[in-house]
């Protein structure tokens, strides 16, 4: 079965208004191109879940795609405030549901494992647990002590960017692996974006590196440079200058709209976006190789 689609087709077919989506990636491999495609297609009333909403959700909230965010750290990573999500929350225009990182990731872990909830040891910092009724404390049936539990998170769709996969979606990731695997297993539908599609033999030559098996993947989209201004380990660096620039842009709604017009609505896809960034940016984000030593699986 051919799973290779354009990102446009994948979003058309697999993301619906009102969906709960999880665009995965902790700083690394954030699928910005998919966020932009969802904006272009005008999806509405989405619930956007991510440990760190990052600029991708700031932009999607700015474009009016979201009715709610689910998060555990709402900042512009390494820069400061995530201005648009923050302003919408403060104005009461955006619903939110909040966890700690461990709470958020435990929710995904439960979803990925097919469990109803996941227990955690208590932290004694109960204010968030009181503010969010999804946090409960139950008795450990063995010791009698209390454990804090959070319910499984089961996104309608997960979007996961990877370095490489085969045409079936058997996907290999290296570098920070965050919550990619858990998001994919927890979700009902999985869109994989990939820097490159490689022959199945390449995947089979290094099976330990495969985090996501193709059979849970619905669409494979070949989208080089998908995660800019985030990064893809070994392929291109994080564009920190843009994270700083967004801090300025996002202070002014007109500037945000102009940016969306130019960089999201004004381009048809990621290739056009990447070309438009120009050679100065391409050169600045280039990374020198640092190869691992091949290992011997043995022929049996």
């Amino acid at each position: 079965m051919n799973k290779i689609f354009s990102l446009t087709e994948a979003v058309q077919n697999l993301i619906q208004d009102g969906d709960l989506i999880y665009a995965a990636g902790f700083t690394h491999l954030i699928p910005f191109a998919a966020g932009h495609e969802i904006i272009r297609q005008g999806r509405k009333n989405l619930t956007l879940a991510r440990a760190t909403p990052d600029l991708i959700y700031d932009q999607m909230v700015a474009a009016g795609c979201a009715k709610k965010v689910v998060f555990s750290y709402m900042g512009n990573p390494g820069v400061g405030s995530l201005r648009i999500v923050r302003a919408e929350l403060e104005a009461g225009r955006l619903e939110w549901e909040e966890y700690s990182h461990f709470g958020m990731i435990s929710r995904l872990q439960a979803g990925a494992a097919g469990l109803p909830f996941m227990p955690m040891n208590p932290t004694a910092a109960v204010d968030l647990e009181l503010a969010n009724p999804n946090y409960r404390t139950v008795q450990d049936p063995y010791s009698g002590g209390g454990v804090v539990v959070v319910p499984a998170l089961k996104p309608d769709a997960a979007i996961v960017h990877v370095q490489r996969c085969d045409a079936q979606g058997n996907a290999q990731i290296w570098g920070i692996i965050g919550e990619q695997k858990e998001a994919a297993f927890a979700a009902e539908r999985v869109i994989l974006t990939t820097e490159e599609v490689v022959p199945e033999e390449i995947i089979r030559a290094d099976p330990n590196r495969t985090l996501i098996p193709g059979f849970i993947v619905d669409a494979v989209c070949v989208v080089p440079h998908c995660s800019h201004p985030s990064y893809t380990q070994g392929y291109y660096d994080r564009d920190n200058a843009f994270y700083l620039e967004w801090d300025k842009i996002s202070q002014d709604r007109q500037a945000v709209n102009a940016w969306l017009d130019e960089w999201v609505y004004g381009v048809s896809d990621r290739d056009e976006y990447w070309e438009k960034l120009g050679s100065e940016v391409h050169d600045r984000l280039q990374v020198d190789p640092r190869l691992s030593t091949p290992i011997n699986y043995g022929s049996y």
């Binding site: 750290y73 920070i176 919550e179 858990e182």
Partner: protein
Amino acid sequence: MDSNDYSSSELMIINASRLLRDGDVVFVGVGQPNLACNLARRTHAPNLLMIYEAGVIGAQPARLPLSIGDPTLVSGATAVCSMYDIFSLYLQRGNVDVGFMGGAQIDQYGNINATVIGDYAKPKVRLPGSGGSKEIAAWANRCYIMTPHQKRRFPEKCDFQTSAGFLGGRSERDEARLRGGGPQAVVTDIGILQPDDTGELILTALHPGHTVEEARLNTGWNLQVSPDLRYTEPPTQDELTILREELDPQGIYIKGSGG
């Protein structure tokens, strides 16, 4: 600049660095805590093991990391794992000695607010939220806090407890039976606060040139002073050189007052 001329940020980073012990496993944050850890590793704690909440173990960053998931943390690290693993196998299981915390408010018992100023449901100022701090504060053996010393950052009580210090006093934390020991020191640009027997943060050290009066004026509760109050050693030329020339040559985190 010479060793008698340093910024508030440098002063805090250097004093935080000195609190780390050789062989500590440290849950590192980006920015100033990262610099404190790398400085310690290059001076008195060469065997410091740095782990990052993004799931990186034994990082040896070749450049200054600009985000908590910077790719330089991965290249040359000893291991990379998922976020679920870093929070469960490493932190919850009890494999972390030191955690660094930050926040908008730190109260008299070392509880921290990184979530909201005002009412949670109708936020006046919405802050980033917990991230890893709810669990780090509970489960790391020792927690350190770095913050500029300002009255608004040191209220008697936090608007919201994002992470636990000694709660309403040391006995309350003891009753909660958390595995971690709670906050051990708050390093400011005036001095160092540490918990007394009741868990209340008291002034135990002043940086050279600073006064008790200054510390009291900039604290939101009636700050007590330790009978063993000491002065910290000024930053050494060696510490300043490593910070300025090797770790943060562009001065991104070491200039100014920090926070």
